[in-house]
């Protein structure tokens, strides 16, 4: 129980400083709120705390779930995986279902911050596309169920580029679009995609290659206009830049309003990410949590969600219910031949994260 160990270390630190009283409030956060409301057959009150990304659920999904099961879902929002991780690192404050991305599933799983899922309670797993059932980041789907997936590529303004910028070269290793490029400010993603450009996998990048990537990015920096915080699509729409490193779902959303924008996954391949549904360790209502996860994987409910958020769904049954404008959208669902060149970024330990961060700090300071 490493969560308890953290509380332990923190509390002992505080005690050592002669402030044991504060430790009580630390442990108090970890306790489940005492609910005296009517309890279901499983002995759980009809409530659920859902910790999700912003704009990442169907408009009527939570109300529909309440109608179907009587369970009241209270949703709060986080903005980054780091925020989610940092919050749960200090102990679970009462969340039942969380939505971490693939790399963080591994990380939180290793840190003992996730509860194993009981597949018998999630029959709707049959709706999931088999391609998503045994990913490297969570073998056998022990801790997570796939919710959405997304892939990084180049969003570009058609009238301002020559042909299709179908290589990472245009972002990482070329002066052709001087001052018209914005890169995502995620150090690990940048280093990994640069490795992909160099013909290597996104994982197990050898130190020599990291050095080489650092030199390449330092050389490229004068041509880069900005590092953006996942708002590349807005910069593209506003005309600040003509090429951005962004997720397909984000570009698909703005393409609806601006036909001059398009998206391509470079021919070298790219990074896939997947957001998943997990139950954090110490969740007060695991039974309701399983029920809720099962509900979100339902075909009808999944289609309702996809309609709102327009991200690619791993739910084959839900996808079948969607209109062709979504199903056949080449940006949301890129062709299989290019997807076969894309990989998940694996969690490779805290040192790697620190190393990649320092590479990008060096690039930006250069």
């Amino acid at each position: 129980m490493s969560t308890n160990r953290i509380l332990g270390t923190r509390r002992s630190l505080l005690t050592a400083m002669g402030a044991a009283a504060i430790g009580i409030s630390f442990t108090a956060c970890g306790q489940k709120p005492a609910g005296e409301a009517a309890k279901s057959a499983s002995g759980e009150e009809p409530k659920l705390n859902f910790y999700n990304w912003d704009t990442y659920i169907g408009e009527t999904t939570l109300a529909d779930f309440k109608k179907a099961t009587g369970v009241d879902v209270n949703m709060s929002l986080f903005a980054t995986n780091d925020e989610l991780f940092a919050k749960l690192k200090a102990g679970n404050a009462g969340y039942d279902v969380i939505v971490p991305s693939n790399e963080f599933v591994t990380r939180m799983g290793q840190a003992g911050m996730l509860e194993p899922l009981d597949h018998a309670k999630i029959p709707n797993i049959k709706n999931i596309d088999p391609a998503f059932l045994d990913p490297d980041y969570d073998k056998g789907r022990k801790f997570s169920m796939p919710y959405t997936w997304l892939v990084l590529g180049i969003g570009y303004r058609k009238s301002k580029v020559q042909g299709v910028p179908d290589s990472w070269k245009y972002l990482f290793d070329s002066a052709q679009y001087n001052g018209r490029i914005a890169l995502l400010s995620e150090s690990a993603d940048l280093v990994r995609l640069a490795a992909k450009y160099k013909g290597h996998s996104v994982n197990n990048i050898p130190p020599e290659l990291v050095k080489e990537i650092e030199a390449m990015l330092i050389k490229q920096k004068p041509y880069v206009k900005a590092f953006h915080d996942d708002n590349g699509q807005d910069m593209l729409v506003a005309g600040d830049v003509d090429l951005v490193l962004e997720y397909n779902g984000d570009i698909a959303q703005v393409m609806k309003d601006d036909p001059d924008i398009d998206f391509v996954i470079p021919k070298e391949g790219s990074l896939i990410n997947s957001d998943t549904l997990c139950i954090p360790k110490g969740a007060p209502r695991p039974d309701n949590a399983h029920k809720f996860i099962n509900y979100l994987l339902d075909a009808q409910a999944g289609a309702e969600i996809s309609k709102t958020i327009l991200y690619p769904t791993p739910n084959a049954a839900a996808k079948a219910l969607m209109p062709p404008a979504y199903r056949d959208n080449k940006v949301i669902f890129p062709p299989a031949d290019i997807m076969s060149k894309c990989e998940y970024g694996a969690f490779e330990g805290a040192e790697k994260a620190s190393l990649y961060e320092e590479v990008i700090t060096k690039v930006r300071a250069a």
Binding site: L13, A226, S354, E357
Partner: protein, 296 residues
Amino acid sequence: MEQSWKQAKAVFAAALSAPLVWLVLFFLIPLAIVWAYSFGHNEGLTQIAITGTFKNYARAIEPLYLKIFLKSAWVAALTTGLCLVIGFPVALAITFASQKAKAWLLLLIMLPFWTNLLIRTYALIAVLRNEGYINKSLEAVWTLAGRVLPLAPFQPLEMMHTNFAVIVGLVYVHLPFMVLPLYSALDRLDKSLLEASLDLGAGHMRTLFKVVVPLALPGIASGVLITFIPALGAYLTPDLLGGPDSQMIANVIERQFKRANDWPFGAALSFLLMYLTFVAIAVQALLSKGRKGAAA
């Protein structure tokens, strides 16, 4: 009639206890924990072992990070300088305005304070970006001029995502920090001294630099200090307005706590920043002491 606190110890203790508890509970203890982290290292994925190592500090004073510290100090100094140059005339104007106008002018200085920093920064983005108000106006003027003169097509001024934008943002945000202490120093100024200086034949400029500035020096010093310190730790402005090379030390610290998940190193960088702040305060204290000594 002023009373010494020693004559009402109980009242004094009662009044002091609440802020003291607050200070200890929510400032000193958390800060002490972060300070302790800076002597530790990550153990596993979620724990920090406090081992008393100086490794994090050794890494923090590597040339890479020292350069970023220096750059941040330079940006903060430039911001402070510009705030002083812009803020001094403003404070002077408010001082010499009529009583009624004074209240309104002070309100105008304070008004941005009541708006969230994030909103103000986004507003600046709307002003500075290629399709922003400045470029749109310039373009309109340019096309009008183009009707009579043969001009090349309009090229927008690239202002967003540059160090220029960061300085503009920092000066804009920190100007009230400079104007308010300057105003309070200038307002207390004995106006008869200015009249004397002017009567005795000094010009306006000479009066300003020989009389007003020396008398306002304590205000200038505190204005400089409370502008420089927050500017040194600025994080949002370089993040949102800056370009690829506008990172300041606070951005690096933020990424250590979040993306890199290296709290001990982030804590070491934070405390180095804090030590720099203490140095700045100490320098100011020494200067003002020196001045008092000279005046005595």
